[in-house]
């Protein structure tokens, strides 16, 4: 569809805007995501995201199955890091029901979540650099590290991606010494990968030319738009739920929270690299100090699990942002209402503001820098 003509002020050429749709099948849209873009030449004048192509009505399904039966479905939300999704749901249920988690289980949860964050950020910047045009090489390096972490997840839980490992009150199986040795090996080798990656990418002139000053998100807009996670922190919002809510054992661990200044695509890339370094620090501390003990709270019944009536909201700092679950219980074995607060969906609110005025190629890398996953956007 063509809008009204615009007169180019420099000469007497009459131009018109063009409305095209990028997606839902597109090599760079990270899934079935569509953007209706109004273009003036190559410059984006308006952009409307269209979602719902992967709406699998997870929330309605959860009302029909038991509390624990929804745990495998949470794996499939943000399908890159199933461990963080499991933790968010387990945390929300434990908050609602008042279940205390034993110490060793908390440590194991942190190990799983931080390993998940490592492989998510590595893949995210691999995909971002592929959108910039680095045809596959950074992605393959990132996937090499990811395969090591997935092998560990498979040894622990039986599945590479859809782990279904967390339970209300703990985790499903304990980690033996061989598994802990595997985890320590991954953590020992990860800084070398980061150094290699940074040497190739961080001061690379193509990355600097394409990513700096592109897609700037101002701090006030980030807060007003409910943006969370690395995208918000790159814009200067000092908010990390691990430090604010202090869930799990995060209040006893020493780690920093990197915060950016400008909020362009380069900041969002670099903040993920810095967050990976902080995750390595956390993992080193937990793997050194993990105590012995049970991994499941004994008072939790696995069959016939019920929660007293009421509602509650629990959230974690997932790798993509604040992942929260709002649960309403009527005292029965199934949830009455099960709602997911998806970080990727809400981060898309500000996509138009970031892209207007840039070229189409920049719009693609801005979308890549937000790091969306359609399983979470559409649920």
């Amino acid at each position: 569809m063509i809008a009204e003509p615009l007169i180019n002020s420099a000469d007497t050429i009459t131009t018109k805007t063009l409305e095209i749709s990028i997606g839902p099948q597109h090599p760079s849209t990270h899934g079935v995501f569509r953007m209706d873009v109004v273009l003036d030449g190559e410059v984006v004048r308006a952009l409307k995201p269209v979602v719902g192509y992967l709406h699998r009505n997870h929330e309605q399904l959860a009302e029909k199955i038991s509390w624990l039966g929804s745990m495998p479905y949470t794996d499939r939300l943000d399908y890159f890091n199933s461990m963080s999704n499991n933790w968010a749901y387990a945390l929300a249920v434990e908050k609602l029901a008042g279940i205390k988690v034993p110490e060793r289980a908390e440590c194991i949860r942190v190990i799983m979540a931080e390993l998940s964050r490592l492989q998510n950020h590595a893949s995210a910047i691999g995909f971002l650099l592929q959108d910039c045009g680095a045809w596959g090489t950074p992605l393959l390096y990132a996937f090499k590290e990811r395969e090591k972490i997935l092998d560990f997840f498979e040894t622990v839980s039986g599945s590479r991606m859809m782990c279904n490992y967390f339970r209300f009150g703990g985790v499903r199986v304990d980690l033996n010494d061989a598994m802990l040795a595997m985890a320590r090996k991954i953590v020992a080798e990860f800084p070398k990968f980061l150094d290699e990656f940074e040497k190739l990418m961080t001061t690379n002139e193509v990355v600097l030319a394409r990513c700096q000053r592109v897609g700037i998100l101002p701090r006030e807009l980030a807060i007003a738009g409910s943006v969370s996670g690395p995208v918000a922190r790159a814009s200067g919002v000092e908010y990390d739920i691990r430090k604010v809510d202090k869930y799990g054992i995060y209040d006893r661990l020493e780690f920093g929270v990197p915060v950016g200044r400008i909020g362009d695509v380069y900041d969002r890339y670099y903040i993920r690299v810095l967050e990976m370094r902080e995750s390595v620090k956390i993992l080193q501390q937990v793997l050194r100090d993990i105590p012995a003990g049970p991994v499941q709270a004994v008072e939790v019944k696995l069959r016939g699990f019920k929660i007293p009536a009421g509602d509650g909201y629990g959230r974690v700092e997932g790798p993509k942002g604040e992942l929260g679950f709002y649960l309403v219980s009527e005292g029965g074995p199934k949830p009455y209402r099960y709602h997911i607060r998806p970080p990727s969906f809400i981060n898309l609110t500000v996509l138009e503001d970031m892209c207007v005025g840039h070229k189409v190629a920049d719009a693609i890398i801005i979308l890549g820098s937000i790091d969306i996953v359609l399983g979470e956007v559409d649920r």
């Binding site: 029901a97 969370s228 509602d311 909201y313 309403v328 898309l348 609110t349």
Partner: protein
């Protein structure tokens, strides 16, 4: 600090606030606000220096079929003062022509997509929303699927051992699924 309901009643004249408790363990009581004063309460919570709830984290719609209303729940946090959550609830009747609440998108921009989702799945209209249209289902869809009384179309998979609802539907459809499902007209 978290404002009390007395403080809000003093700040926004005429508002009616009811405290709705949550479970004992969660300890997250919510404030049920009437529709007329919702925007005023929201602006107060955002702008008041002791509150500064400038981050709206989550917007949820809940359908209470037995009680006859749909509730919209807002969870608010503060980035500057690092406290929260404050939970606001507002109720609307279930009938489609009366089901509307004021939109909080002018106060918090992040509510935009989430309110569109509540409209799409529950049918709640938000007055003052800049762009209220469906977001997850396609535009020609007319139902509101997350409502408790929604009946999905007769497109169930044939199951070797039909039981409960699938068996009831199969019998109601005349026992044989294929002719109705493969038709090109709508059968509800």
């Amino acid at each position: 600090m978290i404002p009390t309901s007395e403080q809000l009643c003093a700040a926004v004249p005429g508002v009616v606030i009811e405290i709705v408790p949550s479970t004992l363990a969660a300890a997250q009581p919510a404030m049920l606000v009437d529709r007329e004063h919702l925007v005023a309460v929201a602006r107060y919570l955002k702008n008041e220096p002791s509150c500064q709830f400038e981050f709206c984290s989550c917007v949820t719609g809940v359908d209470y079929l037995a009680k006859g209303f749909i509730e919209v729940v807002y969870h608010l946090y503060s980035v500057a003062l690092k406290h929260g959550p404050v939970i606001l609830k507002v109720r609307a009747p279930r009938e489609l022509d009366q089901c509307h609440v004021p939109s909080l998108t002018p106060v918090w921009r992040g509510c935009e997509f989430q309110e569109r989702e509540v409209f799409d799945l529950y049918g709640v209209k938000f007055d003052g929303h800049p762009d209220l249209r469906r977001i997850l289902m396609w535009n020609e869809f007319t139902d509101h699927p997350m409502r408790k009384d929604y009946v999905p179309p007769a497109d169930y998979e044939w199951e070797p051992t039909p039981h409960d609802e699938v068996l009831k539907r199969a019998k109601a459809d005349g026992g044989i699924m294929p002719p109705s499902a493969l038709a090109t007209e709508v059968k509800k």
